[in-house]
């Protein structure tokens, strides 16, 4: 496992949150904020969608 993966897993276990959600949020940030010049509101929408889905 990578360093980031390990740190995320530790944070997920400590805070009682799914590692999948954290990984998904991280990927959204990586993909939509830095690799492209996507509108920040798109990133917010994607994050909100991920959280909504996780809250179901």
């Amino acid at each position: 496992m990578t360093t980031i993966g390990e740190l995320l897993q530790t944070a997920a276990t400590k805070n009682g949150i799914s590692i999948d959600l954290l990984s998904r949020l991280l990927n959204i940030e990586r993909t939509y904020l830095y690799l492209t010049d996507a509108n920040p509101s798109t990133v917010i929408d994607r994050i909100r969608d991920a959280i909504k889905e996780a809250a179901q």
Binding site: T3, L25, T36, R48
Partner: protein
Amino acid sequence: MRLTKLEMKNFGPYKGVVEVSFDSVKGKNVWIIWGSNGAGKTHVFKAIKWCLYGWEPSPGEKIRRPTSKDAWDLVYGTNIDQGIPPDPYMHVCLWFEHQPETASSSKQLYVVRRLVRPASSRPRNPSQIDVDFEVKINGRINDSPKEAIEAILPVAANQFFMFHGEEIRKMSLKHGEDVQQAIELILDAQTFRQGIAHLATVGKQISRELDEERAKAGDMAQYLDAKHQIEEKTESIQKEITQNQRELEAKREDLENVDAKLRSHQGSEKLMGQLEIQRQQLNQVEEDRENHLAKYDVLISELPSRLILPELQKVLEKKEVQHQRIEEQRQRIAELRGMQMLAARVLKLDTCICGNKITGVEKTHLEAERRHYEDELKQSEAGLEQEDPTYYQVRETVAGLSASKLDFAQYKKELDRINVRIDEFRNAIKKTEKDLGSSDQGLIRQLQADRTGFQEEIARRQERVSSLREMFKTQQDYMDRVERNILRVDRSSRVKQNLERQFSLAQIARSSFESVLEPLTDIKRKVIEVEATRIFRKLTNKPEEYDRIQVDEYYDVAVVNKEGNLLEREKLSTGEREIVALSFILGLMRASEKEAPLVLDTFFAHLDDAHYTNIVSSLPDFAHQVVLILTNVEYQNLRQRASEGFFGHLAQVWQATRDQEKKASKLIGTELLAPISKVVPK
């Protein structure tokens, strides 16, 4: 991730299609592209960057959207002649082999960026071209090409792991804020930092929605209380309806029984009906007789006046004569008054109405006439008799008695007729009563009274049931409304719970990102320090003097000597600074957790012999794939200085050349290098 092939068409100085293969043989991981200045070797490096990112970012440059201008400047022909490309169909294709950390088999990636269907067959400016970008993974088109590249290359790899010598020289000086951000991108620290900010925004958004939902929803306890009250009321109404209906049924049964009994005494009932009618008729006739008897009193009261009528008529005749005389006197007085007034008015005139002047004689005569009328008027008024006050009373009495028709015979006859009818009805009643037994009469009267009572009771109950049903319906309407509200509040409650859960997740995710950020930065910085130091110690020409590389929290790099003193980079030589920068970049690559090809373009210009030798001998170990782009001078140096071990890692050498007549460059694959001393000149 390893680059396996590059194909360019009409790219930069290359006219038509040019292919560069990076096929690997085991143990060989170094490729060289060399050529003289302007031969097109750097365009190989540019082609890789443009294909992946659409533009050519330098270290620290902010990431931006590729533009048509980026592509236009790279199309063959835009830098020569009139700047109009002879063939606008430019493309660059890259083939990669990627071994994912979690998968056993490798993936083949095909990346192409090209100009497609330009608006003009001979485009004259960037606005007339369209650029297409496509990624295939194992032969299948990927819907998210940028994500696919992100998955195999470190974020911002284009800014650090493929660089020109000039860029490394910039990097060898103190970092700026943008460079720090780019480094944090590679390390994902910036990603977490922005993630924290975005999650805070999302948290605020959810919190706002939660507040709105709380404001919209009503009080569930209030609705439930109302529901229970309505239920109780409805139940009470329902009970009363049932009770009334039961009573109604009972009364209907009673009524049916009474009707049945009455039917069984139908004959008697008929007689009862007949008896009733006869009694009503008798009552009517008796009433007529009372009225008729009242007429007798009137006849009697008029009788004395009737007897004195002739006398009254004579009195009236006398009074009429006096009345007539008085009327004549009154008339004469009125005439005299008129004449006197006329004479007085004429006396005031000068001319007559016929226009003739009234003479003095005539006026004297008129004055005499007026006096005469005046005297006569006074005499008449004095002689006017007084009207007899009884005259009008007597006249009316006489007129009334004369009009009266006193007919006692007719009165007697009518009275007799009424009496006969009364007797007839009484006899008929007696007969009917005789026919109808006294017991039957009582029973039927009782039954009829019962029936009337039952009918009234039924009507009353029906009215009550109808009213209760109306009340029941109203309560049901209330209940519908309350239940709708309960559902709404319930739904809202579920929405609220979900929003609360979302808010909690956003907060926890943010807190998790925060808890990752600090150790991540620290760990990564240490990894860079350790790796950069390891590489630096291999490369430096003063290993006995320099101990290690230190990276501070802003990613500023310094050298620490054996005495433990910090040596700022500005105090190092240019070559030393470049060695430090290269060590840092290679350390950064290790910390990035993803493998990327190392592409170095004209990097060796400022290095002394010792540094050069160290780098060349260590290069194959720096990355799993190294592409060196060299000037012809650097290339000759390399052949002279490189060790046998280095040549053992060489996979392929390409030479960039330019045909001045055709104004086009080409790449020629050459034989594998051998040290220059072993090369036999052709």
